[in-house]
């Protein structure tokens, strides 16, 4: 490969200054002329029929412009199952469901009006556990499930309240277990957690009374998809809808699809053209947007005495909450890789997404992989322990390597997993007594690691345009949302590389669906790869036009030209170089513009079949990672303190190494929070008990250990410069790595997250009373074949 000038360099983020100085405008900051303020009445019941809503008093309050209920917004939406009304229709299904909304001259008036709305409910039985909700005979949370509009991928389940059943079938697991020397089954539990993005949710909407055009200003991570969903819901042609995207103050998956948008739109239809702002506060964001799926994971594995994996059966109950949202695809994408990145001849996976009467669950950085990794990677350690094998040797014997045929039928290439395993374990000193060899009394030191493979949604499309004006300034038009991940910088580096212009000559246009070419979404770690390719192609096309014009000016052929620093010159000629601007001015005049377009789709990609779980190209690329932890556990208090964490990630090619480190460290912080503290606690009445940062504990800077990041570059043949993705995997193996380290320290294993001091304390107490190798609320260990 040629020497790269911008790619592979840790260029300072191009949006750093405006963000550090506070001049950047986020969705929450937006102020529109003449806007009204919306407030929402939320359900106080987990599952109830709405007998009556009286909005009269609210309507009569001075300053109120509109009051809406489900009747005024007769629309439903959903990614793959259209089950969610804009505002509750006839029934509420969780505490925190929007029931009615008010638009008024200011927030306080709107809030006062909300308090005047009367609702009468008749309670129905409610379910707060996905396993209970799908018991035979359970009351249906969605009576009309069968008649909902659904996409083709939906496979209804065999039991009540299952909204999607994902199946993967390879070989014959029963035969596999019979062939095995050891069979182990365990149950793992991951609670719902919150995304806790710095910026809470908000949306602004306006409906033009003349044209009927709906305009929404929202920091959504997939403006084109939400546009499509809105068009479908409202029954409008797409050109009647426009999404404008300000900066997003973090999302982690919580800001895709329709959240506050529905309420803003429902109100905007009633305000005679005045825009409406609806902002959620922190508590509303915790409860009434989305959460990460709680998951109950059963894994049963059969292994040979020499450590060869023979069979694995996985059963997962994904707690979807009250509406489907993205649960079907989380169920598919999260269940599919749940047996882990290993060669296993016999595999069976059953993933069930189950309705409950809890807040909705949806996309969350990692899309199901963090939950199943918590189960699978602890399970791998326990298998190794029972086999009397080293946990690293056991994995090395079974992990995917280049050329393997995966259990879903894909021939794998560019697999950097083994290298991440070796580098992460070496850095943590796996098998060595390093660091605190003489811990204080009562402190137990342990090490552990975990590895993952994370696919990306496939196939998806990105399109882009690159424009050069007569000043030589480059503008990228691309639909990737700057959610804080640094896409503006990465895409600018790619354009600068192809055009050989200084990075400060490159800008990226803000996002507006009326103007910017299509992009599928800023999700699934897909942007650097897909949009990177699209921008690269667009830049090449623009460059070709410049060189073509320059060739005629220089009276030579394109091949003799070289580009550098925004200028073009003839190789080995003394003639002065021409800047791009000069080329354009001379050929097209001072108003001339050159533009190139580019698109990228991983065309052979095919979603896994939800009936078999198979696909020959399930993902455009896979992200491989291993993380390792060294922990100190206080035996007397149960407090887990991290001494060190190592994260080795195969990124294909680091376009911006510092940005990669930042992604990984950010992921680690999030994963550490999920491992040690985070849990949305929901009581017997379906109420979230800790919807604030007082009791929902994110980690602080002081809770973070020394973090070592290792970038592994196993290039992808189709990625731009070999790049893969990196947005999601930073947190995926973290809890399992910490869980394995805690088990290593204590000699006892904990199967449920988070590893809060209290949970660890009680596990230590139980193990003291009952010194078995494992502790579990519901141990399901079986050794059907004797293990000699």
């Amino acid at each position: 490969m040629e020497k790269l000038s911008f790619v592979g360099k840790s260029i300072t983020r191009v949006d750093a200054e405006e963000k550090v100085t506070g001049s950047a405008i986020y969705g929450y900051d937006l102020v529109l002329p003449d806007m009204l303020y919306g407030k929402v009445l939320f359900s106080t019941r987990p599952h109830a029929i709405i007998k009556r809503i009286d909005t009269e008093k609210a309507r009569r309050l001075p300053g109120v412009h509109a009051v809406v209920t489900g009747k005024d917004a007769p629309w439903t939406h959903g990614e793959t199952i259209k089950d969610m009304p804009f505002l509750a229709q006839g029934k509420v299904r969780f505490v925190g469901e929007p029931v009615a909304a008010v638009a008024a001259v200011d927030e306080d008036t709107a809030q006062a009006a909300v308090a005047l709305i009367e609702v009468e409910y008749e309670d129905c039985p409610a379910y707060f556990s996905p396993e209970e909700a799908c018991n035979p005979g359970a009351v249906l949370i969605h009576e009309d499930y069968d008649s909902y509009r659904k996409s083709d991928i939906i496979v209804p389940g065999p039991l009540p309240n299952i909204l999607e059943h994902f199946k993967l079938r390879t070989g014959n697991v029963e035969a596999g277990f019979r062939e095995s020397d050891l069979v182990l089954e365990q149950r793992y539990v991951v609670p719902a957690i919150g995304h806790a993005a710095l910026e809470p949710h908000s949306a602004h909407a306006q409906v033009d009374p003349e044209s009927g055009k709906v305009t929404v200003w929202v920091a959504n991570d997939a403006p084109f998809r939400v546009l499509h969903e809105t068009a479908e819901a409202l029954g409008l042609p797409k050109e009647k809808i426009r999404f404008i995207n300000p900066y997003q103050g973090g999302g982690f998956g919580s800001k895709g699809a329709m959240k506050v948008e529905t309420i803003a739109i429902a109100l905007a239809y009633q305000t005679n053209g005045r825009p409406v702002r609806v902002k959620f506060n922190r508590a509303e964001t915790f409860v009434s947007t989305i959460t990460r799926h709680e998951a109950i994971v059963y894994i049963k594995s059969g292994v040979k005495r020499d450590g060869t994996l023979v069979a694995r059966q996985v059963r997962i109950y994904w707690g979807a909450g009250a509406y489907a949202e993205k649960s079907p695809t989380v169920c598919i994408k999260g269940s599919h890789p749940s047996p882990g990145p290993y060669r296993i001849p016999h595999v069976q996976v059953d993933g069930y997404a189950v309705y409950t009467n809890k807040p909705l669950a949806g996309a969350f950085r990692g899309y199901g992989v963090p939950q199943t990794a918590w189960a699978c990677e602890q399970h791998m350690d326990e298998l190794a322990q029972r086999l009397g094998m080293d946990a690293l040797d056991f994995r090395l014997k079974n992990v995917f390597v280049d050329g393997d045929l995966s259990y879903w039928g894909e021939r794998l290439q560019s697999v950097g997993l083994k290298e991440t395993l070796l580098k992460a374990t070496e850095a943590i000193g796996w098998g060595k007594k390093t660091g605190q060899s003489n811990p204080p009394k009562g402190i137990r030191i342990g090490k552990g690691f975990a590895c993952i493979a994370k696919p990306t949604r496939t196939p998806t499309t990105s399109t882009a345009a690159v424009k050069i004006d007569s000043r030589g300034d480059v503008m990228i038009l691309a639909g990737t949302v700057e959610i804080g991940q640094g896409c503006t910088t990465i895409l600018s580096q790619i354009a600068a590389e192809e055009l050989q212009v200084p990075i400060d000559k490159v800008r990226m246009h803000s996002l507006d669906t009326d103007l910017i070419p299509f992009d599928a979404s800023t999700t699934s770690s897909r942007s650097t790869y897909h949009m990177g390719n699209a921008v690269k192609r667009a830049a090449v096309k623009a460059r070709d036009q410049i060189t073509e014009m320059a060739a005629s000016l220089f009276d030579t052929s394109k091949e003799n030209l070289e580009l550098s620093n925004g200028k073009v010159r003839v190789k080995d000629r003394r003639e002065p170089a021409l800047s791009f601007g000069e080329v354009i001015c001379q050929k097209l005049g001072s108003d001339g513009v050159v533009a190139g377009d580019g698109a990228y789709t991983f065309e052979m990609g095919k979603d896994v079949d939800p009936q078999t779980g198979h696909s020959e190209h399930a993902s455009a690329f896979y992200m491989y990672a291993t993380q390792a932890a060294e922990v100190a556990v206080d035996e007397e208090t149960g407090r887990v303190r991290l001494i060190r964490m190592v994260a080795a990630h195969d990124v294909g090619k680091a376009i911006n190494p510092l940005n990669c480190v930042a992604q990984i460290e950010g992921g680690l912080a999030m994963g550490i929070g999920a491992a040690l503290h985070e849990e949305l606690v929901i009581d017997d009445h379906g109420r979230v008990k800790n919807p604030s940062f007082l009791d929902y504990h994110l980690v602080t800077s002081l809770d973070l250990p020394k973090m070592e990041t290792i970038i592994v570059e196993c290039p992808d043949p189709n990625g731009p410069y070999g790049a893969k993705g990196l947005g999601e995997p930073g947190l995926a193996p973290t809890p399992a790595a910490i869980g394995n380290a805690v088990a290593n320290a204590l000699g006892t294993r904990i199967y449920e997250l988070p590893l809060s001091p209290e949970r660890v304390y009680w596990a230590i107490q139980t193990s003291k009373k009952n010194p078995s190798p494992s502790v579990s609320a519901e141990p399901v260990v079986s050794n059907p074949t004797s293990f000699r």
Partner: protein, 305 residues
């Protein structure tokens, strides 16, 4: 967050004036010190004051001073940060500095006042156990003149104190103490900072000779009873006994038996009781070992293990 209803705000220059304003304007008034509790109550918890009397212009309420007899007077408006970094406090009672340093973040500590924290009567207040083991007194300005009450009898319940409407807490007095007094405060919470205490334990003690025979000891607990409390049973276990692992453990058990924690979203009562046991033991042993000055955060973390 709600925009507050309009209310009047007064900025008196003296305690007398502040009290008169309060009497004159009647019910619905609140005194404002750092505002770290009051502002949240107004913006997020629906408190609607009719008027607010801002005490910050009253110079006599500020500052920390050491009297000739060795007693310390902390003005009610002394900020948590001032208590944390005060040279005299960190020299004489480093565990009190540390307890103030455990509150919130530096930004919060720059505003929050020690008087406000005490008057607010939160069971988990960090400085209160440290002040209880120093047998601090609280001075209040009341209708009937100045009153002094031991801090221990100041609290009546969560959010409730002996102060009546219109009373102003003016200062906290730490009586003279032996130069050999040693102490410790442990805040037990899952996070390293920006957290409420699940359990707070303060210990102050005097020992004889090299044997570590305990001559005098005071132990106080936070967050495990309706009001911060002295653990007198635990104290009784130690008096006139050699302080070692074993006696400290027994004192911890006594403390665990006499507290009355609740179960909530943060922790169960049973776990809190165990943490009282463990952290009381640790606080006693840490106090005996002494503590090297005002430790920085990271070193403080190490001390917990």
């Amino acid at each position: 967050m709600k925009r507050p209803e309009p209310f009047e705000i007064f900025q008196p220059a003296s305690i007398q004036e502040a009290r008169e304003l309060h009497i004159h304007h009647g019910p619905g008034g609140y005194f404002l010190a750092g505002g770290t509790d009051l502002a949240i109550a107004i913006k997020e918890k629906g408190l609607v004051p009719r008027y607010v009397v801002d005490l910050k212009r009253i110079g006599s309420l500020s500052g920390i001073r050491e009297n000739a007899d060795g007693s310390l007077v902390l003005g009610a408006l002394a900020t948590m940060r001032e208590v944390e970094i005060s040279r005299v406090i960190s020299r004489r009672f480093p565990f009190l500095s540390q307890s103030a340093g455990e509150v919130g973040s530096i930004q919060i500590r720059n505003r929050a006042t020690i008087g406000g924290n005490i008057a607010n009567a939160t069971p988990s207040a960090d400085v209160v156990p440290a002040l209880l083991v120093l047998e601090a007194q609280v001075t209040t300005s009341t209708q009937n003149g100045e009153k002094q009450v031991p801090l221990e009898s100041f609290f009546l319940g969560p959010g409730k104190t002996v102060m009546e409407r219109g009373d102003i807490l003016t200062e906290i007095i730490i009586p003279p103490a032996s130069a050999n007094l040693r102490g410790e405060y442990i805040k037990f919470s899952p996070r390293e900072m920006m957290d409420l205490a699940y359990v707070g334990v303060a210990v102050a003690l005097l020992t004889d000779g090299d044997e570590n025979v305990c001559r005098e000891v005071r132990i106080a607990l936070g967050a495990v009873s309706p009001v911060p409390m002295r653990a007198r049973k635990a104290e009784a276990v130690l008096v006139n006994r050699v302080i070692n692992e074993e006696s400290a453990e027994r004192a911890g058990e006594a403390a665990a038996s006499e507290c009355t924690p609740i179960s909530d979203v943060r922790a169960s009562a049973a776990y809190r009781r165990h943490m009282v046991r463990v952290n009381t033991k640790r606080a006693i042993l840490n106090a005996v070992c002494g503590r090297p000055g005002n430790l920085p955060w990271v070193a403080r973390r190490e001390r917990r293990y």
